[in-house]
């Protein structure tokens, strides 16, 4: 076995393949198909302080090489997460990263404080400032660099865990948000969340999704995401988690070479729930064949010939 461990600043992972938030629930459903311990980390479904009902259906629609979703952050809220989901996740032995979202700065701060408490077994927090499917909060925090910086500055002092900020691609220049998050205290950046999109049902002459717009994911967005990881890698010094339509080992390698120190698998889990264990095995073989001792040797490799 090649050494698949990766170090992202204060965060150490067994393998560089994480399950992306929203695609793996709280792990319960996938536990009968695969060993959750074999995941680099499981980023749980976006968590809010109070329970959220989510958006009315239809919430998803298939698109060319991908899908749109507008779930609307349906989740049971912090209390139920701490009493029911987290103990079960801890027992499974998986590395848990909690994705948190709020309507206000105070909600993010409360979530970060509660989840940072020692002994509850959370490995890191991912600040969701990029959900495109809720009316308040979410993406609003991620589209303005100054608002983002203010939020990260407030969360940082109460967050004793590694702090990941998940960036939205729905901006003119993603490197501005990346720099704002870095300078206000983020340890790691993850990118990208989904691209805002729409499908219109021509029979009813209305948007197909009840929420009208949704977030586009899947292989359709991969080249856009790779480009953004490449740009952000050049703009900041903190480590990156790359994601956007990864299906194969080659897709993952593109993200590593663009500058991601780890990657997250999202929509690919739907057609193939065993994507992560498969990629883990394939990366192991690839590293042996190429004589790569540590993944660090290829992270950002695509930049080396640029001036």
């Amino acid at each position: 076995m090649a050494d698949l461990r990766v170090k992202l600043g204060p965060l150490e992972l067994q393998t560089p393949f994480m399950a992306a938030s929203g695609t793996f629930g709280f792990g319960e459903e996938y536990a009968s198909l695969l060993d959750l311990q074999k995941l680099g980390a499981l980023v749980v479904k976006g968590l809010t302080l109070r329970p959220r009902k989510g958006n009315p259906p239809p919430r998803i629609v298939e698109t060319p090489a991908g899908m749109l979703n507008a779930i609307g952050l349906q989740n049971p809220g912090l209390d139920v997460f701490l009493s029911r989901e987290l103990p079960r996740l801890k027992k499974s032995g998986t590395a848990v990263i909690v994705n948190i979202a709020g309507d206000t700065e105070e909600e993010y701060v409360t979530l970060a404080r509660e989840l940072s408490r020692a002994g509850n077994g959370v490995l890191a927090l991912e600040l969701n400032v990029s959900c495109p499917n809720v009316k308040k909060g979410g993406i609003l925090f991620g589209t303005s660099p100054s608002i983002l910086a203010s939020l990260v500055e407030k969360v940082r002092p109460v967050c004793t865990l590694p702090l990941i900020v998940k960036l939205t691609p729905n901006v003119t220049d993603i490197t501005e948000a990346a720099r704002a998050a870095e300078s206000s205290g983020a340890d790691i950046l993850s990118l990208v969340n989904t691209f805002l999109g729409m499908v219109i049902d021509v029979a009813s002459r209305r948007p197909f999704l009840a929420n009208e717009t949704g977030g586009l994911s899947g292989p359709a967005i991969r080249p856009l995401a790779v480009r953004m990881v490449y740009d952000v890698y050049a703009a900041v010094k903190i480590p990156l988690i790359g994601m956007g339509g990864i299906l194969t080992l080659e897709d993952s390698l593109q993200f590593f070479m663009a500058g991601a120190a780890a990657v997250a698998i999202g929509s690919a889990n739907f057609p193939d729930p065993l994507t992560i264990p498969r990629l883990t095995g394939e990366l192991n073989k690839y590293m042996k064949k190429e004589g790569i001792d540590s993944l660090e040797e290829i992270i950002g490799a695509a930049h080396q010939n640029t001036v």
């Binding site: 929203g22 629930g25 996938y30 919430r59 057609p271």
Partner: protein, 262 residues
């Protein structure tokens, strides 16, 4: 729930545009019960990207075989309509919460609209095995769309057909045919239904008037199929004034009619 390759044993176009696949998959054939479904990957290259859910229409546990029946409606079903004997398909299942008929049931009424009749075929067989009298109401828009349901049903199941254009059986909606029988003294103990939302909604009105327990199988777009992504959620009543979203793929696809918010 199992993720495995299932082998195509038999393909048949049962009526124009409507296909039956007999598949070999021991785990699914042995463990599935009526109302459950499988989630099928369509293409290795993931075009189309997502799996497609199909209700189980029949199982043969001893032979390790099961059947799905589907209508060709889009890119996914088009590919699936072209598979051949011997092909192996990537299949996740059995999934979901199916029909839970009352134990002391003697007379069961099944109401199916269009391709929604598929899970009722499986249910009819099981209910009859348990000694139930089974009456099926089955409607489609025209005669040419009617699946030859008797082909998949044990003898003794009473079949009542309706077509909207009147080209076969009762002229009109299957719900109207059923209503006529209710007025003529039919006394259902429990009703099981699957079909277009409008059909189910009409049946639910019957429920409100006559207080007959009903179980409906619903359909929604699905991504994961196992309850993780929350993409297929539908609104359900919880108590008098509150509603929640439940997952068609895991909490359903079968729900009590009184739960559904129309």
């Amino acid at each position: 729930m199992f993720l495995s390759g299932v082998r195509v044993m038999e393909t048949e176009e049962v009526v124009d545009g409507c296909f039956s696949l007999l598949l070999e998959g021991k785990n699914i054939a042995v463990n599935a019960y009526p109302g459950q479904f499988i989630h099928m990957r369509i293409a290795d290259n993931l075009l189309p990207f997502l799996r497609r859910p199909f209700s189980l229409a029949e199982t043969f546990p001893e032979e390790g075989l099961f059947r799905i029946i589907f209508r060709l409606i889009g890119a996914g079903t088009k590919i699936l309509s072209r598979v051949r004997r011997g092909d192996v398909l990537d299949c996740l299942g059995p999934l979901g919460t199916g029909f839970k008929p009352c134990e002391d049931l003697r007379l069961s009424i099944l109401v199916g609209g269009g391709i929604g009749v598929a899970p009722l075929l499986f249910l009819a067989k099981k209910l009859q095995e348990k000694g139930n009298k089974v009456i099926m109401y089955y409607g489609a828009s025209q005669s040419a769309d009617l699946i030859p349901v008797h082909q998949f049903l044990p003898p003794g199941v009473e079949i009542n057909l309706a077509t909207e254009d009147g080209s076969s059986g009762f002229p009109g909606f299957v719900t109207d045919l059923f209503q006529t029988h209710l007025q003529n003294g039919l006394l259902p103990e429990e009703i099981f239904a699957c079909g277009p939302r409008l059909m189910l909604q009409k049946l639910a009105e019957v429920h409100r008037n006559k207080k007959i327990p009903m179980q409906f199988s619903l359909e929604e777009m699905m991504a994961c199929g196992i309850g993780a992504c929350l993409g297929c959620s539908v609104e359900m009543q919880r108590g008098e004034n509150e509603t929640v979203f439940k997952r068609v793929c895991r909490d359903g696809p079968v729900f009590k009619s009184c739960e559904v918010v129309w």
